[in-house]
Structures are given as C-alpha cells and as structure tokens.
C-alpha cells in the first residue's frame, strides 16, 4: 500500500510542497522572530498573524527514533525508521519523519541528518538521510 498522503490546504501547502524547489519551508513568526510547527495562520507564542513559511537548512539531529518491525499494510517494507528530527535552526523545532537510505540499526539519538524529498503526486515528503 502506498503512503497515505496529506490533503493540502492554505496552512500546510508550503510544508508539503516546498520540496518541489528543494526547500524545507517552516512557518516563521516575523513578530517574535521564531519558527513554529505545525504550520498555522497564527503564531502560538505571540498570537501574531504576521507569519510566513521560510526556508530552513534542512539539517537536524534525531531527537528520538524507533525501528518499526510490524508489517501494518501489505507491501510495507520492514524494518524502517520513524524519527523525530530536531532542526538546527531552533531548539525544540521538530517534526516526525523517516530516516532513509541507511542501515536502520545504525540510527541513534543525536545522529546528524539532512532532509531529502520524496515526490509523490503533488507532495514532496521531507524525509531525512544521514549527513555525511
């Protein structure tokens, strides 16, 4: 079964489609000069509407991870790595993704990773690979 893709809307479109131009776009509050995630029309910290998706480096480190061994759907290749990646731009700025193209057993907390995009339909999924 292929990945279940997100439905795009004005709030999440930049995050899911930034990869078309090779950019990881994270919402930024220009009023308090901080990034936040998940994207939203308002900054949850200062309640400003002065928010806009801005490109980040795509570099980060693994805050936590798990090797999923259970084949939940037909064709799902296991084991694969699910990780929460914290971006270098700001402490606590993080989201869940997959770490791909490496030995799953070599993944550890603190491992440095960088984004790579997987293009499916109109979505560019931000996945991560080991930073060489």
């Amino acid at each position: 079964m292929p990945r279940k893709l997100p439905a795009l809307n004005p709030d999440n479109r930049a995050f899911w489609q930034g990869g078309e131009r090779g950019q990881l776009l994270i919402h930024h509050c220009d009023a308090c000069a901080r990034f936040f995630h998940p994207p939203s029309p308002i900054c949850p910290r200062c309640a400003s509407f002065d928010v806009t998706p801005r490109p980040v480096s795509g570099k980060g480190s693994v805050a936590s991870f798990t090797l999923n061994y259970q084949q939940w759907t037909p064709g799902l290749e296991v084991p694969f790595v699910i990780a929460i990646v914290e971006l270098i731009e700001q402490p606590g700025l993080r989201f869940l993704s997959n770490v791909v193209d490496c030995d799953p057993l070599a993944v550890s907390i603190g491992m440095r990773v960088k984004v790579r995009f997987e293009h499916l339909e109109d979505v560019w999924l931000p996945l991560f690979e080991k930073e060489q």
Partner: protein
C-alpha cells in the same frame, strides 16, 4: 491558583462491569446495560435516580468499535430522564467522562450521574484486523489536525509514537528493557488472580524477551490486549451519597491541565501531558504522593505506566525503571501496588474506566483474590501523549 475545588462534592457510589471477553457474543448495547444496571444497583439506587449520563469519547457517528455506544443511545435504551448528558473525544483523555460528569453535579445540574465506557475492539478485529489503524481514521488524503503529520510517514499505529517516548526515556535516563518488562510481568501476575482477565497464564522475563518486536523498544507484550467490555460508575452529589450502599469514594482531586501543544510529537517526549495533569491534581489537594495506597496507571503501552509513575511523583523523575525493577515495590503486597486487576496489558483494554472500577474495588476491600492491604487513598491516571487525566480517590 484555584478558588473552587468542585470535585470534593462528588463521590463514586457504585460500580459495574460487563463480562470482559475476546470477543463477546453480546451486543455493545447489552454489554453497556449489564455494566450500567450493575453500577446503579451497586449504589443502592434505581433508574429513576439517575439524572445525568457522561461518557468518553461517546458515539462518534461512525460505528467505531472504539466507542460504539454513547450517552444518547444508553439514555434512550434505559429510559432515563436526564437534566444533562454529554460526551466527546476532545478533553483530558479516557477519564474525561468522570471529570465532566462530576462537573455537571458540582454545577447543580444533576444529583446522580451515570458514567460508562464501552469498547468492542475484539469483535471488530475478528472481521478486520487493520480497522483500528491510524491510517484508517480518515478517508482518502488526510488534513486532520492530529494525523496528517504521521500517516504520510507510515505511522499506522499509536505504538510508533509511544516507542519514540520510550526510546527517549531509555536515552535520557538509562532505562533498560528488563525494567520496562516489569510492567508487563506485574500486570500478568495480577491478572492470574483476576478471573475476568483476558491473559492469565504465567509470564516470565524470558517470555517477554522472546515476544515479537513491534516498534523498538516496544514488544508485543508492551501492548494492551483488545477486548469487548463495558464499565460503569455512578457519581453522586456528596450529600446525596449518604444513603447509598457503600462508603462514598470522594473525588478528592482531578487533573486535566495541558500546558503544551495538543500534539503527539510536539509534546515533551518523556513527560507527555502527564506531568501537567499531575501537577494540577496535587495543587487541588492537601494529600501527597506518599498517601497513595494503590495506583491504577494507564498501560495502553507499558512505557506510559512508567511515565505516569514519575508524573504523579510516585517515584522521582527518570527513576521509574529502577523503581519497578524486580517488581517488589509494585506487587500486590508491595509499597505501591499498581494495575491490580492485570491492567489493560493482561486484564483487557477496557480503556480508562476499568482503572476507576478497580481502584474502587480495592478501596472498598472487594477485590477478593487480588485484594491489597487496606487503604483509603488511590490514584488513577489514564492517557498517553497529549491525552491525560487523573483522579485522586479517597474512601470516606
């Protein structure tokens, strides 16, 4: 911080539970009626006395076996006349029905509120093992607030999210697999003394370590077991609780706070909502963690029990591994018996209200073969991730 601690005017006066089966041949409504009528009778009340109904999460209009019966259907089936009834997924997790029902009493809307929780996931899985998957919660492409951030990355089960919490706990505090295993082993030992428990055969550390890895570091025995069951309690206004059959069990304090985003990955990975919730609960009472004589701590996945132990201050933050190691402290005859009916890991995933039922049995001294030393204060906690609620119960 709080100028009114409403819950102290509310007491649990009766409890009931249907069979706990895997699966049951009874309908969801019949299971619900079995539990509710038992609870009403246990309180020494009749149907006519019930003037409110609460539930979590209630009927979501989708036939989901996660919650097939809600207050509207139950109220109608039982012919109840109510001043207030309500349910809904949003709120402080599986104990939200108790917390909301108590609020309805404290607000003066009701005198006796029936709270119930029905689940038929065992029957559902006979026909469709994947029906409960996160990726099946929404049709087609997903822009739901909760799940669009996970299902594109092949997160199909909540276990993947809990595994991230467990891995981080292991990393920060040095928690080890054989410590985590103790939650499952303790639950199984307790389940052997509970005739209604789903899994009652002995489990050894070797059995645990040999169980299938699902999502590191969580194994199959770290996951709760689906069942068909309904659990019910009666909440009564304190002055109306005097005539009931058993000593009232006062709701001494509730915890329902959330000081972080409602999110499975933006929330603290080692504290979840649990620490916010527990902080609120202790701020609403003069009791302290050392007063707690038994604790029923959510074990949808074993790691959650460990985090609740820390959140409630029943052991120091980060020390739950050492606290449970060997199992003596948390055994039925230990200093802090937990999940005394086998929890959800071995007893069955009654999902939330089962813990309240068991806490009451222990406080009333009605737990038979698994009865702990007599005590008057019990803690109940339910939920994982952004879901969390607690109750401190005191037998009067």
């Amino acid at each position: 911080m709080f100028d009114h601690r409403y819950e102290k005017n509310v007491a649990i006066t009766g409890i009931g539970q249907s069979e706990v089966a895997r699966p049951s041949s009874k309908s969801a409504m019949r299971l619900t009626l079995d539990a509710c009528l038992q609870a009403i009778e246990d309180a020494g009340l009749t149907r006519e006395d019930i003037d409110g109904v609460a539930c979590w999460p209630g009927d979501n209009n989708n036939g989901d076996p996660f919650s097939p019966v809600g207050p509207s259907a139950l109220k109608s089936a039982l012919g109840l006349n109510v001043n207030w009834f309500g349910a809904g997924y949003e709120g402080p997790g599986p104990l939200a029905g108790v917390i909301n029902g108590a609020m309805a009493i404290a607000a003066g809307l009701c005198k006796h509120v029936l709270v119930f929780r029905t689940i038929t996931e065992a029957s559902a899985r006979v026909h469709n093992k994947g029906g409960g998957a996160l990726s099946a919660k929404t049709q087609g492409r997903d822009s739901s607030y909760a799940w669009q951030w996970f299902t594109p990355f092949d997160v199909h089960s909540g276990i993947n999210l809990m595994a991230l919490y467990a891995q981080r706990h292991f990393h920060e505090y040095g928690t080890r697999p054989e410590q985590l295993a103790q939650i499952a082993l303790t639950c199984r030992a307790n389940a052997q003394r509970n005739p209604k428990a789903i899994y009652r055969t002995p489990m050894t550390m070797d059995d645990y370590m040999a169980s299938r890895m699902i999502s590191t570091p969580l194994r199959m025995f770290d996951c709760d077991v689906h069942c068909d069951a309904s659990t019910a309690i009666v909440l009564s206004r304190r002055d109306a609780a005097r005539d009931t059959r058993h000593a009232p069990i006062r709701i001494e304090a509730i915890g329902a706070a959330l000081d972080q985003p409602w999110s499975w990955d933006q929330i603290s990975l080692t504290q979840m909502a649990a620490f916010d919730v527990a902080r609120m609960m202790w701020a609403r009472t003069d009791y302290t963690p050392s007063d707690v004589g038994s604790a029923q701590l959510y074990d949808g996945f074993s790691i959650l029990t460990m985090i609740w132990l820390e959140a409630l201050g029943l052991c120091p933050t980060g020390d739950s591994g050492a606290f449970v190691e060997g199992g003596q402290r948390i055994a039925l005859d230990g200093q802090l018996p937990i999940n005394t009916n086998g929890g959800q890991l071995s007893g069955g995933r009654t999902h939330g209200l089962g813990y309240v039922h068991e806490a009451c049995l222990q406080l009333w001294g009605r737990a038979e073969g698994r009865q702990t030393q007599a005590h008057t204060v019990a803690a109940v906690a339910a939920g994982g991730g952004p879901l969390g609620g607690t109750l401190l119960l005191v037998k009067e």
